[in-house]
């Protein structure tokens, strides 16, 4: 097709340059704000007092919880104790911490999936933004560091009930071969080794190709990608079980990993759209990434909005229909009271209906300011989703555990995340310069 000239990459501003300082500065401000806010507000709210309960009912819930969730777990506990809980009984600052860490981990998981699926399908539309995804995925190092504090025995004990199960809790007892502290640590190490290994290997090969233009690198990256995807699928599934699902060790859902995956890919594309819009607002990649590419990123956001809803509903409907006590306990905690019931509706409407109707139009996807609004909304909803997975475990969902640290911790983490992103993006091109599919990608148009 001769009518449209392919963009000459050499005329593009395609290095981060002075923006890296700007991004690091902004990240540092957010991180400091988050840290100060967390310390100040956390202290005011008593989050760090060793025995304090920010919510007065917290202490009582464990011994005298009369709710349904305790009742049917008692059915299975078999012992005379009768009060076995698979979930955590009291609030700690590590709960909002885990919410925020999972929130950003999801973005990294989406990024690594984006890179792998790009290579496995030999996609060309996404070649122009692949370097950005590679840089985001390198933040797994930061995520690993952020997760380390939660792995300490003290914190684990606060988060995961299965560390110190109630006596006579036979449900957890039979899971002990899998759910024990040592094996948990080994698994977490394996997950992060896989993720960091894949992300660094792809980033390294891609950046080195900028210099040597070796086409074998493309073949090699493509050849590894199916195996990489299998490793990714296994690790995200079991990581979802371990980090989030085992908060309630009585409950299980085989689709839980897919649920996290749907949200991950969705929020990564939202994050990617924001990075591109921010870069272009600062004169980077202004023509290389065209409206056509933005439309495709928008399409992926739309598709995974629907995918997330599909998976979330599939999980819900099966448990609703079968109505088996040990399976419904998790949902009862989340819909039998006003607070978490409303939060569930917030997800149905805010995470599915609103983005579904909003991102549907082509004009929204092609307009950068409007797509940015959608992307920010999607990222907030990803946080709300993680909140919904973690927080109702506290006191059996009897109360709303919201404190100001729920806001300050994500802000601080986001600051660190942006610093990590700036460090990964600088020092080389923002685009995979010599990827053989680059000309095709630059000329990409939606049919």
């Amino acid at each position: 097709m001769g009518h449209k000239q392919t963009i000459d990459l050499s005329t593009e501003n395609r290095s981060l340059g002075g923006l890296s300082g700007q991004l690091i500065g902004f990240g540092a401000v957010l991180a400091v704000l988050g840290l100060i806010g967390t310390l100040l507000l956390g202290n005011l709210e008593g989050a760090f007092d060793s025995h304090s309960e920010p919510h007065a009912a917290g202490g009582a819930a464990h011994s005298s919880d009369p709710t349904h969730s305790a009742d049917h777990s008692a059915d299975h506990s078999g012992g005379d104790h009768g009060m076995a809980h698979g979930y955590v009984s009291t609030w700690s600052v590590w709960h909002p911490y885990l919410v925020s860490a999972s929130w950003l981990l999801a973005i990294c998981l989406g990024a690594i999936f984006f890179v792998l699926i790009h290579h496995v399908t030999m996609a060309s539309w996404s070649t122009v933004v692949r370097r950005l995804a590679e840089a985001v995925s390198r933040n797994f190092v930061l995520m690993g560091l952020l997760f380390i504090p939660t792995l300490m025995p003290g914190q684990m004990g606060k988060l995961y009930k299965w560390i110190h199960p109630d006596p006579g809790d036979s449900i957890i007892a039979v899971k002990e071969a899998y759910l024990n502290y040592d094996f948990f640590l080994i698994r977490m190490a394996i997950y992060f080794l896989i993720w960091i290994g894949i992300s660094f290997w792809y980033h390294k090969n891609s950046v080195q190709q900028d210099a040597d233009g070796d086409l074998k690198r493309t073949t090699r990256m493509a050849h590894f990608s199916p195996l990489g995807l299998i490793l990714f699928a296994m690790s995200i599934t079991f990581a979802a079980y371990d980090i989030l699902m085992s908060l309630d060790a009585h409950w299980f859902s085989t689709i839980f990993g897919v649920y996290l995956f749907g949200g991950s890919v969705l929020s990564f594309h939202a994050f990617l759209a924001l990075i591109v819009i921010w870069l272009q607002a600062n004169g980077r990649l202004t023509r290389a990434v065209s409206d056509e590419h933005m439309q495709d990123i928008g399409k992926m956001m739309f598709a995974f909005t629907v995918f997330w809803a599909y998976i979330a509903f599939s999980q819900y409907m099966l448990y609703w229909y079968a109505n088996i006590p040990e399976e419904t306990a998790w949902f009862l905690r989340r819909q039998e009271n006003m607070l978490w019931g409303s939060w569930g509706w917030l997800l149905i409407i805010g995470r599915f209906l609103i983005p579904f109707l909003f991102i549907m139009s082509k004009h929204v996807k092609r307009s950068r300011p409007i797509l940015a609004v959608a992307a920010i909304w999607v990222l907030i909803m990803q946080w709300a989703d993680m909140y919904y997975l973690v927080m109702p475990q506290i006191n059996g969902g009897e109360e709303f555990p919201f404190t100001m640290v729920d806001i300050t911790i994500p802000i601080g983490f986001l600051g660190l995340f942006l610093i990590g992103l700036a460090l990964s993006l600088r020092g080389h091109s923002l685009i995979a310069e010599k990827d053989p599919r680059m000309p095709e990608s630059l000329a990409f148009e939606n049919a």
Partner: protein, 196 residues
């Protein structure tokens, strides 16, 4: 329009066999390249033609804009189909399970949203697909078994290596002579008028 000319005719004429009173139905202009077609299409558009079309061996990006084609309303038809499917699915199940033939199954409510979503979802997809498929056919005027364009042997190359603009005789600005001169002027290398 087949009055005798004093100068060399600017086009060939193809007349349908057995036609009693042949009248031009369509004029085709052949172009060598997609670029020529694109620029010619822009000029035909600017000239104010309405009933005309481009024919290419492969999709040419940007041609819609060059031809001045307005965005299709097909997405709205699909949306309407999907909406109808969703509401229709819910109504159908509500009436069947809740009103017409209530049947107690393991203590579930006769009608409930969670149980009804799968059918409503499938009907949304089904009617969206029907809307997309049927709407596409209807908007394109398909199925259509025969087109006067098929009378031209030259036109067969539209599936291989040539690019064509066709102007229908129904267009208000249709005039074989002046149109032919105009198309010659913007790069056509052959003109044919098909009569039936």
């Amino acid at each position: 329009m087949s009055e005798p000319k004093t100068h060399e005719p600017a086009f060939d004429t193809i007349t349908a066999e057995g036609s009693v009173d042949p009248k031009p139905v369509v004029l085709i202009a052949e172009f060598e390249t997609a670029d020529q077609l694109m620029s010619a299409a822009e000029k035909v558009r600017d000239e104010g033609f309405k009933r005309w079309d481009c024919h290419t061996p492969y999709p040419v990006h940007g041609l819609d804009g060059a031809m001045g084609i307005r965005p299709t309303i097909l997405p709205w038809i699909v949306l309407g189909g999907g909406f109808t499917g969703f509401c229709g699915g819910l109504l159908m199940q509500g009436w069947m399970n809740g009103i017409s033939y209530p049947f107690l199954i393991s203590g579930k409510p006769f009608f409930s949203i969670p149980a009804s979503i799968p059918v409503a979802f499938e009907l949304t997809i089904l009617l969206s697909a029907f809307g997309a498929f049927g709407g596409m056919l209807a908007l394109n005027g398909l199925p259509r078994m025969f087109n006067p364009l098929f009378r031209s042997d030259r036109f067969r190359r539209a599936t291989a290596d040539r690019f064509f603009i066709s102007i229908e005789a129904r267009d208000r600005r249709f005039d074989a002579d002046s149109n032919a001169r105009f198309l010659r002027g913007i790069g056509a290398n052959a003109i044919e008028v098909i009569e039936e």
